[in-house]
Subunit: 251 residues, 2 copies
Protein backbone atom coordinates (compact mmCIF):
# COMPACT_ATOMS: atom_id res chain seq x y z
CA UNK A 1 0.00 0.00 0.00
CA UNK A 2 1.36 3.40 -0.99
CA UNK A 3 0.17 6.91 -0.15
CA UNK A 4 -0.05 9.20 -3.16
CA UNK A 5 0.02 13.01 -2.79
CA UNK A 6 -1.29 15.12 -5.68
CA UNK A 7 -1.36 18.83 -6.43
CA UNK A 8 -4.56 19.50 -8.35
CA UNK A 9 -5.91 22.46 -10.33
CA UNK A 10 -9.57 22.84 -11.20
CA UNK A 11 -11.93 25.34 -12.76
CA UNK A 12 -14.66 25.74 -10.14
CA UNK A 13 -17.37 26.90 -12.56
CA UNK A 14 -18.51 23.41 -13.46
CA UNK A 15 -18.63 22.04 -9.91
CA UNK A 16 -21.00 22.24 -6.95
CA UNK A 17 -17.83 22.59 -4.86
CA UNK A 18 -15.01 20.25 -3.89
CA UNK A 19 -16.80 17.91 -1.50
CA UNK A 20 -18.70 14.87 -2.78
CA UNK A 21 -22.50 15.24 -2.65
CA UNK A 22 -25.12 12.90 -4.01
CA UNK A 23 -26.41 13.88 -7.48
CA UNK A 24 -24.05 16.86 -7.78
CA UNK A 25 -20.92 17.14 -9.94
CA UNK A 26 -18.10 17.73 -7.45
CA UNK A 27 -14.29 17.65 -7.73
CA UNK A 28 -13.99 14.89 -5.15
CA UNK A 29 -16.76 12.90 -6.82
CA UNK A 30 -15.15 13.07 -10.26
CA UNK A 31 -11.67 12.12 -8.98
CA UNK A 32 -13.00 9.25 -6.85
CA UNK A 33 -14.90 7.94 -9.87
CA UNK A 34 -11.67 7.76 -11.90
CA UNK A 35 -9.85 6.05 -9.01
CA UNK A 36 -12.67 3.56 -8.54
CA UNK A 37 -12.42 2.65 -12.23
CA UNK A 38 -8.65 2.05 -11.86
CA UNK A 39 -8.95 0.02 -8.65
CA UNK A 40 -12.26 -1.79 -9.20
CA UNK A 41 -13.23 -0.63 -5.71
CA UNK A 42 -14.03 2.70 -4.03
CA UNK A 43 -10.99 4.80 -3.08
CA UNK A 44 -11.41 7.68 -0.65
CA UNK A 45 -9.59 10.93 -1.43
CA UNK A 46 -8.59 13.41 1.31
CA UNK A 47 -8.07 17.07 0.43
CA UNK A 48 -6.43 19.92 2.33
CA UNK A 49 -9.91 21.40 2.70
CA UNK A 50 -13.15 22.04 0.86
CA UNK A 51 -13.75 24.73 -1.69
CA UNK A 52 -17.22 26.07 -2.50
CA UNK A 53 -19.15 26.00 -5.75
CA UNK A 54 -17.42 28.10 -8.47
CA UNK A 55 -14.22 28.50 -6.37
CA UNK A 56 -11.09 27.52 -8.32
CA UNK A 57 -7.89 25.78 -7.30
CA UNK A 58 -4.40 26.16 -8.68
CA UNK A 59 -2.75 24.16 -5.91
CA UNK A 60 -5.29 22.06 -4.02
CA UNK A 61 -3.54 19.11 -2.35
CA UNK A 62 -5.02 15.67 -1.83
CA UNK A 63 -3.88 12.19 -0.90
CA UNK A 64 -5.16 8.64 -1.29
CA UNK A 65 -3.88 5.11 -0.69
CA UNK A 66 -3.38 2.59 -3.47
CA UNK A 67 -2.14 -0.91 -4.15
CA UNK A 68 -1.55 -0.07 -7.82
CA UNK A 69 2.17 0.09 -8.51
CA UNK A 70 3.24 2.92 -10.77
CA UNK A 71 5.86 5.65 -10.77
CA UNK A 72 4.72 9.16 -9.78
CA UNK A 73 5.09 10.34 -13.41
CA UNK A 74 2.96 7.47 -14.63
CA UNK A 75 0.30 8.29 -12.02
CA UNK A 76 0.15 11.86 -13.25
CA UNK A 77 -0.24 10.70 -16.84
CA UNK A 78 -2.87 8.05 -16.03
CA UNK A 79 -5.02 10.41 -13.96
CA UNK A 80 -4.88 13.30 -16.46
CA UNK A 81 -5.78 10.94 -19.30
CA UNK A 82 -9.03 10.05 -17.55
CA UNK A 83 -10.00 13.31 -15.84
CA UNK A 84 -12.28 15.83 -17.60
CA UNK A 85 -10.98 19.07 -19.12
CA UNK A 86 -11.67 21.16 -16.01
CA UNK A 87 -9.43 19.19 -13.62
CA UNK A 88 -5.66 18.89 -14.06
CA UNK A 89 -3.19 16.98 -11.92
CA UNK A 90 -0.21 19.35 -11.66
CA UNK A 91 2.10 16.90 -9.88
CA UNK A 92 2.17 13.58 -8.10
CA UNK A 93 4.60 12.34 -5.48
CA UNK A 94 4.73 9.34 -3.20
CA UNK A 95 4.27 10.41 0.38
CA UNK A 96 5.08 8.92 3.76
CA UNK A 97 2.23 6.74 5.06
CA UNK A 98 1.70 9.23 7.90
CA UNK A 99 1.15 12.20 5.51
CA UNK A 100 -2.34 13.74 5.69
CA UNK A 101 -3.40 16.44 3.21
CA UNK A 102 -5.72 18.09 5.73
CA UNK A 103 -4.16 17.62 9.16
CA UNK A 104 -0.56 18.28 8.10
CA UNK A 105 -1.20 21.54 6.25
CA UNK A 106 0.67 24.35 8.02
CA UNK A 107 0.03 27.25 5.65
CA UNK A 108 -2.48 28.10 2.95
CA UNK A 109 -2.56 30.77 0.31
CA UNK A 110 -5.72 31.98 -1.37
CA UNK A 111 -5.84 34.58 -4.13
CA UNK A 112 -8.78 36.70 -5.18
CA UNK A 113 -8.90 38.33 -8.63
CA UNK A 114 -10.89 41.50 -9.25
CA UNK A 115 -11.45 43.16 -12.63
CA UNK A 116 -11.73 46.81 -11.66
CA UNK A 117 -13.04 48.72 -14.65
CA UNK A 118 -16.28 50.09 -15.98
CA UNK A 119 -15.52 48.03 -19.09
CA UNK A 120 -16.31 44.34 -18.84
CA UNK A 121 -13.65 41.80 -19.71
CA UNK A 122 -15.93 39.13 -21.14
CA UNK A 123 -13.12 36.60 -21.64
CA UNK A 124 -12.32 36.58 -17.92
CA UNK A 125 -15.88 36.80 -16.65
CA UNK A 126 -15.77 33.32 -15.02
CA UNK A 127 -12.30 33.89 -13.54
CA UNK A 128 -12.47 37.23 -11.76
CA UNK A 129 -15.03 39.37 -9.94
CA UNK A 130 -16.05 42.34 -12.06
CA UNK A 131 -16.13 45.33 -9.72
CA UNK A 132 -16.85 48.46 -11.74
CA UNK A 133 -16.47 51.12 -8.98
CA UNK A 134 -13.29 53.14 -8.46
CA UNK A 135 -11.36 51.90 -5.42
CA UNK A 136 -8.41 53.14 -3.37
CA UNK A 137 -5.78 50.42 -3.16
CA UNK A 138 -4.07 52.38 -0.39
CA UNK A 139 -7.21 52.33 1.78
CA UNK A 140 -7.63 48.58 1.17
CA UNK A 141 -3.97 48.01 2.15
CA UNK A 142 -4.51 49.86 5.41
CA UNK A 143 -7.67 47.85 6.18
CA UNK A 144 -5.84 44.62 5.32
CA UNK A 145 -3.06 45.49 7.77
CA UNK A 146 -5.59 45.29 10.63
CA UNK A 147 -6.61 41.77 9.56
CA UNK A 148 -3.02 40.46 9.56
CA UNK A 149 -2.06 38.70 12.79
CA UNK A 150 -3.80 36.32 15.18
CA UNK A 151 -7.46 37.21 15.71
CA UNK A 152 -10.86 35.71 16.45
CA UNK A 153 -12.41 35.89 12.97
CA UNK A 154 -16.03 35.24 14.03
CA UNK A 155 -17.11 38.44 12.26
CA UNK A 156 -15.54 37.19 8.99
CA UNK A 157 -16.93 33.68 9.06
CA UNK A 158 -20.17 32.31 7.64
CA UNK A 159 -22.78 31.61 10.29
CA UNK A 160 -22.93 28.15 8.71
CA UNK A 161 -19.43 27.30 10.01
CA UNK A 162 -19.31 24.34 12.40
CA UNK A 163 -15.86 25.22 13.75
CA UNK A 164 -15.82 26.06 17.46
CA UNK A 165 -12.46 27.78 17.46
CA UNK A 166 -12.55 30.88 15.29
CA UNK A 167 -9.02 32.05 16.03
CA UNK A 168 -6.74 32.06 12.99
CA UNK A 169 -3.45 33.68 12.07
CA UNK A 170 -3.06 35.63 8.84
CA UNK A 171 0.63 35.98 7.96
CA UNK A 172 0.22 38.40 5.10
CA UNK A 173 -2.23 40.07 2.76
CA UNK A 174 -0.73 41.54 -0.42
CA UNK A 175 -2.70 43.65 -2.85
CA UNK A 176 -1.21 43.94 -6.33
CA UNK A 177 -2.62 46.16 -9.06
CA UNK A 178 -1.80 45.49 -12.72
CA UNK A 179 -3.82 47.85 -14.93
CA UNK A 180 -7.49 46.86 -14.51
CA UNK A 181 -6.68 43.72 -12.53
CA UNK A 182 -6.28 43.72 -8.74
CA UNK A 183 -4.98 40.53 -7.14
CA UNK A 184 -5.37 39.95 -3.40
CA UNK A 185 -3.09 37.35 -1.80
CA UNK A 186 -4.05 35.93 1.60
CA UNK A 187 -1.56 33.72 3.45
CA UNK A 188 -2.47 32.18 6.79
CA UNK A 189 -2.39 29.07 8.94
CA UNK A 190 -6.00 28.33 8.00
CA UNK A 191 -9.20 30.05 6.92
CA UNK A 192 -12.77 29.67 8.18
CA UNK A 193 -15.80 28.99 6.00
CA UNK A 194 -16.24 31.90 3.53
CA UNK A 195 -13.60 33.90 5.43
CA UNK A 196 -11.63 35.11 2.40
CA UNK A 197 -14.78 36.05 0.50
CA UNK A 198 -16.19 37.98 3.48
CA UNK A 199 -12.87 39.79 3.99
CA UNK A 200 -12.96 40.63 0.25
CA UNK A 201 -16.45 42.12 0.55
CA UNK A 202 -15.23 44.33 3.40
CA UNK A 203 -11.97 45.33 1.68
CA UNK A 204 -13.81 46.38 -1.49
CA UNK A 205 -16.28 48.35 0.62
CA UNK A 206 -13.36 50.18 2.23
CA UNK A 207 -11.73 50.65 -1.19
CA UNK A 208 -14.88 52.28 -2.48
CA UNK A 209 -14.95 54.61 0.56
CA UNK A 210 -18.10 53.22 2.17
CA UNK A 211 -16.20 52.32 5.34
CA UNK A 212 -13.01 53.71 6.83
CA UNK A 213 -10.02 51.33 6.95
CA UNK A 214 -9.85 51.55 10.75
CA UNK A 215 -13.47 50.38 11.09
CA UNK A 216 -12.19 46.88 10.31
CA UNK A 217 -10.68 46.84 13.81
CA UNK A 218 -14.10 47.43 15.37
CA UNK A 219 -15.68 44.68 13.25
CA UNK A 220 -13.01 42.20 14.40
CA UNK A 221 -13.46 43.18 18.06
CA UNK A 222 -17.26 43.00 18.06
CA UNK A 223 -17.21 39.49 16.54
CA UNK A 224 -20.52 40.17 14.82
CA UNK A 225 -20.94 38.71 11.32
CA UNK A 226 -23.63 41.25 10.44
CA UNK A 227 -21.06 44.08 10.57
CA UNK A 228 -18.79 42.72 7.83
CA UNK A 229 -20.05 43.33 4.33
CA UNK A 230 -21.45 40.87 1.83
CA UNK A 231 -19.58 37.81 0.67
CA UNK A 232 -17.72 38.38 -2.62
CA UNK A 233 -18.60 35.82 -5.34
CA UNK A 234 -16.81 32.48 -5.52
CA UNK A 235 -15.58 32.67 -9.12
CA UNK A 236 -12.92 35.29 -8.21
CA UNK A 237 -11.35 33.01 -5.57
CA UNK A 238 -8.46 30.55 -6.04
CA UNK A 239 -6.97 28.10 -3.54
CA UNK A 240 -3.42 28.89 -4.62
CA UNK A 241 -0.98 26.88 -2.51
CA UNK A 242 -0.92 24.59 0.51
CA UNK A 243 2.31 24.18 2.47
CA UNK A 244 3.41 21.14 4.53
CA UNK A 245 6.44 20.48 6.69
CA UNK A 246 8.96 18.70 4.43
CA UNK A 247 8.67 14.94 4.93
CA UNK A 248 8.32 13.55 1.45
CA UNK A 249 9.56 10.21 0.32
CA UNK A 250 11.44 9.92 -2.97
CA UNK A 251 9.87 7.88 -5.75
CA UNK B 1 -32.29 58.32 -39.56
CA UNK B 2 -28.81 57.90 -38.12
CA UNK B 3 -26.13 55.32 -38.83
CA UNK B 4 -24.54 53.85 -35.71
CA UNK B 5 -21.10 52.21 -35.78
CA UNK B 6 -20.19 49.87 -32.91
CA UNK B 7 -17.02 48.06 -31.90
CA UNK B 8 -18.10 44.77 -30.36
CA UNK B 9 -16.33 42.06 -28.34
CA UNK B 10 -17.72 38.57 -27.91
CA UNK B 11 -16.76 35.22 -26.47
CA UNK B 12 -17.29 32.83 -29.37
CA UNK B 13 -17.78 29.72 -27.25
CA UNK B 14 -21.51 30.22 -26.78
CA UNK B 15 -22.32 31.02 -30.40
CA UNK B 16 -22.83 29.07 -33.61
CA UNK B 17 -20.84 31.88 -35.25
CA UNK B 18 -21.54 35.52 -36.04
CA UNK B 19 -24.09 35.18 -38.81
CA UNK B 20 -27.80 34.79 -38.02
CA UNK B 21 -29.14 31.27 -38.61
CA UNK B 22 -32.57 29.89 -37.79
CA UNK B 23 -32.72 28.04 -34.44
CA UNK B 24 -29.04 28.77 -33.59
CA UNK B 25 -27.68 31.23 -31.04
CA UNK B 26 -25.59 33.66 -33.10
CA UNK B 27 -24.01 37.03 -32.35
CA UNK B 28 -25.99 38.76 -35.08
CA UNK B 29 -29.20 37.09 -33.94
CA UNK B 30 -28.77 38.18 -30.31
CA UNK B 31 -27.89 41.79 -31.21
CA UNK B 32 -30.76 42.09 -33.72
CA UNK B 33 -33.15 40.76 -31.08
CA UNK B 34 -32.12 43.55 -28.67
CA UNK B 35 -32.46 46.17 -31.43
CA UNK B 36 -35.87 44.84 -32.46
CA UNK B 37 -37.04 45.21 -28.85
CA UNK B 38 -35.82 48.80 -28.76
CA UNK B 39 -37.35 49.74 -32.13
CA UNK B 40 -40.50 47.59 -32.14
CA UNK B 41 -39.46 46.48 -35.63
CA UNK B 42 -36.67 44.38 -37.15
CA UNK B 43 -33.33 46.19 -37.54
CA UNK B 44 -30.66 44.69 -39.77
CA UNK B 45 -27.08 44.77 -38.51
CA UNK B 46 -24.08 44.73 -40.89
CA UNK B 47 -20.71 43.46 -39.65
CA UNK B 48 -17.21 43.76 -41.10
CA UNK B 49 -17.42 40.04 -41.81
CA UNK B 50 -18.51 36.72 -40.35
CA UNK B 51 -16.71 34.76 -37.71
CA UNK B 52 -17.16 31.01 -37.25
CA UNK B 53 -18.50 29.07 -34.28
CA UNK B 54 -16.23 29.45 -31.20
CA UNK B 55 -14.18 32.26 -32.83
CA UNK B 56 -13.91 35.33 -30.59
CA UNK B 57 -13.89 39.04 -31.32
CA UNK B 58 -12.18 41.86 -29.48
CA UNK B 59 -12.86 44.44 -32.18
CA UNK B 60 -15.61 43.30 -34.54
CA UNK B 61 -17.24 46.32 -36.19
CA UNK B 62 -20.88 46.63 -37.16
CA UNK B 63 -23.34 49.27 -38.19
CA UNK B 64 -27.10 49.74 -38.25
CA UNK B 65 -29.59 52.51 -38.96
CA UNK B 66 -31.94 53.90 -36.36
CA UNK B 67 -34.60 56.54 -35.80
CA UNK B 68 -34.05 56.39 -32.02
CA UNK B 69 -32.35 59.57 -30.84
CA UNK B 70 -29.62 59.04 -28.25
CA UNK B 71 -26.05 60.12 -27.71
CA UNK B 72 -23.32 57.60 -28.57
CA UNK B 73 -22.58 57.09 -24.84
CA UNK B 74 -26.22 56.42 -24.13
CA UNK B 75 -26.36 53.89 -26.98
CA UNK B 76 -23.41 52.03 -25.49
CA UNK B 77 -25.06 51.95 -22.09
CA UNK B 78 -28.48 50.88 -23.43
CA UNK B 79 -27.08 48.06 -25.57
CA UNK B 80 -24.78 46.67 -22.87
CA UNK B 81 -27.62 46.74 -20.34
CA UNK B 82 -29.64 44.40 -22.58
CA UNK B 83 -26.97 42.18 -24.12
CA UNK B 84 -25.97 38.88 -22.47
CA UNK B 85 -22.71 38.44 -20.55
CA UNK B 86 -20.78 37.10 -23.55
CA UNK B 87 -21.23 40.17 -25.78
CA UNK B 88 -19.86 43.61 -24.89
CA UNK B 89 -20.19 46.85 -26.84
CA UNK B 90 -16.73 48.43 -26.54
CA UNK B 91 -17.64 51.72 -28.19
CA UNK B 92 -20.33 53.45 -30.21
CA UNK B 93 -20.01 56.36 -32.57
CA UNK B 94 -22.30 58.02 -35.04
CA UNK B 95 -21.13 57.41 -38.57
CA UNK B 96 -21.67 59.06 -41.90
CA UNK B 97 -24.70 57.63 -43.73
CA UNK B 98 -22.35 56.25 -46.40
CA UNK B 99 -20.28 54.23 -43.90
CA UNK B 100 -20.46 50.46 -44.37
CA UNK B 101 -18.83 48.08 -41.87
CA UNK B 102 -18.09 45.46 -44.52
CA UNK B 103 -17.39 47.34 -47.74
CA UNK B 104 -15.33 50.15 -46.21
CA UNK B 105 -12.95 47.94 -44.18
CA UNK B 106 -9.42 48.47 -45.50
CA UNK B 107 -7.42 46.39 -43.02
CA UNK B 108 -8.13 43.57 -40.61
CA UNK B 109 -6.12 42.08 -37.80
CA UNK B 110 -6.67 38.59 -36.43
CA UNK B 111 -4.76 37.09 -33.52
CA UNK B 112 -4.34 33.44 -32.70
CA UNK B 113 -3.38 32.31 -29.18
CA UNK B 114 -1.52 29.05 -28.57
CA UNK B 115 -0.74 27.53 -25.17
CA UNK B 116 2.51 25.70 -25.87
CA UNK B 117 3.23 23.42 -22.93
CA UNK B 118 2.82 19.82 -21.92
CA UNK B 119 0.94 21.18 -18.91
CA UNK B 120 -2.67 22.18 -19.55
CA UNK B 121 -3.86 25.64 -18.54
CA UNK B 122 -7.42 24.72 -17.63
CA UNK B 123 -8.47 28.33 -16.98
CA UNK B 124 -7.64 29.33 -20.55
CA UNK B 125 -8.87 26.19 -22.26
CA UNK B 126 -11.69 27.99 -24.12
CA UNK B 127 -9.45 30.93 -25.07
CA UNK B 128 -6.34 29.40 -26.61
CA UNK B 129 -5.35 26.30 -28.58
CA UNK B 130 -3.44 23.87 -26.37
CA UNK B 131 -0.52 22.64 -28.47
CA UNK B 132 1.68 20.40 -26.30
CA UNK B 133 4.54 19.76 -28.79
CA UNK B 134 7.83 21.68 -28.75
CA UNK B 135 7.96 24.21 -31.60
CA UNK B 136 10.63 26.41 -33.15
CA UNK B 137 9.42 30.01 -33.24
CA UNK B 138 12.27 30.86 -35.61
CA UNK B 139 11.11 28.25 -38.15
CA UNK B 140 7.52 29.55 -37.90
CA UNK B 141 8.75 33.13 -38.44
CA UNK B 142 10.58 32.07 -41.60
CA UNK B 143 7.49 30.22 -42.90
CA UNK B 144 5.32 33.25 -42.07
CA UNK B 145 7.64 35.52 -44.07
CA UNK B 146 6.71 33.59 -47.24
CA UNK B 147 3.00 34.20 -46.59
CA UNK B 148 3.43 37.97 -46.23
CA UNK B 149 2.72 39.88 -49.44
CA UNK B 150 0.12 39.61 -52.22
CA UNK B 151 -0.64 36.00 -53.14
CA UNK B 152 -3.38 33.75 -54.42
CA UNK B 153 -4.34 32.01 -51.16
CA UNK B 154 -6.40 29.18 -52.72
CA UNK B 155 -4.26 26.62 -50.85
CA UNK B 156 -5.10 28.33 -47.54
CA UNK B 157 -8.82 28.70 -48.05
CA UNK B 158 -11.65 26.35 -47.18
CA UNK B 159 -13.10 24.55 -50.20
CA UNK B 160 -16.46 25.88 -48.94
CA UNK B 161 -15.47 29.46 -49.82
CA UNK B 162 -17.74 31.10 -52.39
CA UNK B 163 -15.26 33.90 -53.20
CA UNK B 164 -14.02 33.82 -56.81
CA UNK B 165 -10.99 36.01 -56.25
CA UNK B 166 -8.58 34.35 -53.86
CA UNK B 167 -5.87 37.00 -54.06
CA UNK B 168 -5.24 38.78 -50.74
CA UNK B 169 -2.45 40.88 -49.30
CA UNK B 170 -0.97 40.08 -45.91
CA UNK B 171 0.87 43.13 -44.55
CA UNK B 172 2.47 41.45 -41.58
CA UNK B 173 2.56 38.31 -39.45
CA UNK B 174 4.14 38.73 -36.01
CA UNK B 175 4.83 35.83 -33.68
CA UNK B 176 5.31 36.74 -30.01
CA UNK B 177 6.31 34.26 -27.33
CA UNK B 178 5.62 35.01 -23.65
CA UNK B 179 6.52 31.97 -21.53
CA UNK B 180 4.06 29.21 -22.50
CA UNK B 181 1.89 31.52 -24.61
CA UNK B 182 2.56 32.17 -28.30
CA UNK B 183 0.51 34.90 -29.97
CA UNK B 184 0.29 35.10 -33.76
CA UNK B 185 -0.80 38.45 -35.26
CA UNK B 186 -2.05 38.51 -38.84
CA UNK B 187 -2.66 41.86 -40.53
CA UNK B 188 -4.02 42.00 -44.06
CA UNK B 189 -6.46 43.67 -46.44
CA UNK B 190 -8.84 40.74 -46.00
CA UNK B 191 -8.89 37.04 -45.22
CA UNK B 192 -10.65 34.15 -46.96
CA UNK B 193 -12.86 31.58 -45.25
CA UNK B 194 -10.79 29.68 -42.62
CA UNK B 195 -7.62 31.26 -44.02
CA UNK B 196 -6.05 32.23 -40.66
CA UNK B 197 -6.86 28.85 -39.12
CA UNK B 198 -5.39 26.95 -42.11
CA UNK B 199 -2.25 29.11 -42.04
CA UNK B 200 -2.02 28.37 -38.29
CA UNK B 201 -2.20 24.62 -38.91
CA UNK B 202 0.67 24.91 -41.41
CA UNK B 203 2.78 27.21 -39.21
CA UNK B 204 2.50 24.86 -36.23
CA UNK B 205 3.41 21.94 -38.47
CA UNK B 206 6.54 23.82 -39.56
CA UNK B 207 7.25 24.77 -35.93
CA UNK B 208 7.14 21.14 -34.93
CA UNK B 209 9.57 20.26 -37.76
CA UNK B 210 7.14 18.22 -39.85
CA UNK B 211 7.57 20.57 -42.82
CA UNK B 212 10.42 22.89 -43.79
CA UNK B 213 9.64 26.62 -43.71
CA UNK B 214 10.40 26.97 -47.42
CA UNK B 215 7.79 24.33 -48.31
CA UNK B 216 5.15 27.00 -47.66
CA UNK B 217 6.23 28.62 -50.92
CA UNK B 218 5.45 25.44 -52.84
CA UNK B 219 2.03 25.13 -51.16
CA UNK B 220 1.18 28.72 -52.16
CA UNK B 221 2.31 28.16 -55.75
CA UNK B 222 0.47 24.87 -56.25
CA UNK B 223 -2.84 26.39 -55.02
CA UNK B 224 -3.92 23.00 -53.70
CA UNK B 225 -5.84 23.02 -50.42
CA UNK B 226 -4.89 19.41 -49.67
CA UNK B 227 -1.22 20.41 -49.26
CA UNK B 228 -1.79 22.83 -46.37
CA UNK B 229 -2.24 21.17 -43.01
CA UNK B 230 -5.36 20.85 -40.93
CA UNK B 231 -7.40 23.81 -39.76
CA UNK B 232 -6.49 24.95 -36.23
CA UNK B 233 -9.50 25.13 -33.86
CA UNK B 234 -11.70 28.22 -33.70
CA UNK B 235 -11.43 28.95 -29.98
CA UNK B 236 -7.81 30.16 -30.33
CA UNK B 237 -8.81 32.81 -32.91
CA UNK B 238 -9.75 36.46 -32.28
CA UNK B 239 -10.95 39.09 -34.73
CA UNK B 240 -8.80 41.79 -33.16
CA UNK B 241 -9.24 45.03 -35.11
CA UNK B 242 -10.86 46.37 -38.26
CA UNK B 243 -9.54 49.57 -39.81
CA UNK B 244 -11.47 52.08 -41.92
CA UNK B 245 -10.44 55.24 -43.73
CA UNK B 246 -11.20 58.11 -41.33
CA UNK B 247 -14.60 59.61 -42.16
CA UNK B 248 -16.39 59.68 -38.84
CA UNK B 249 -18.95 62.20 -37.82
CA UNK B 250 -18.82 63.73 -34.37
CA UNK B 251 -21.67 63.04 -31.98
Amino acid sequence: MERIKCIVAYDGNGFAGYQAQPKERTVQGVIEQVLERMHCQPIRVHASGRTDATVHAVGQVLHFDTTVEMTADRWKYALNAQLPEDIWIVSVEKADSSFHARYDAVKKEYRYKVWNSKEKNIFGRHYHYHYPYAVSVEAMREAASYLVGTHDFTAFCSAKSDKEDKVRTIYEINILQKNEEIIFEFVGNGFLYNMVRIMMGTLLDVGQGRQKPVEVLGILEKKDRSLARKTAPGHGLYLWEVTYPSHRKDN
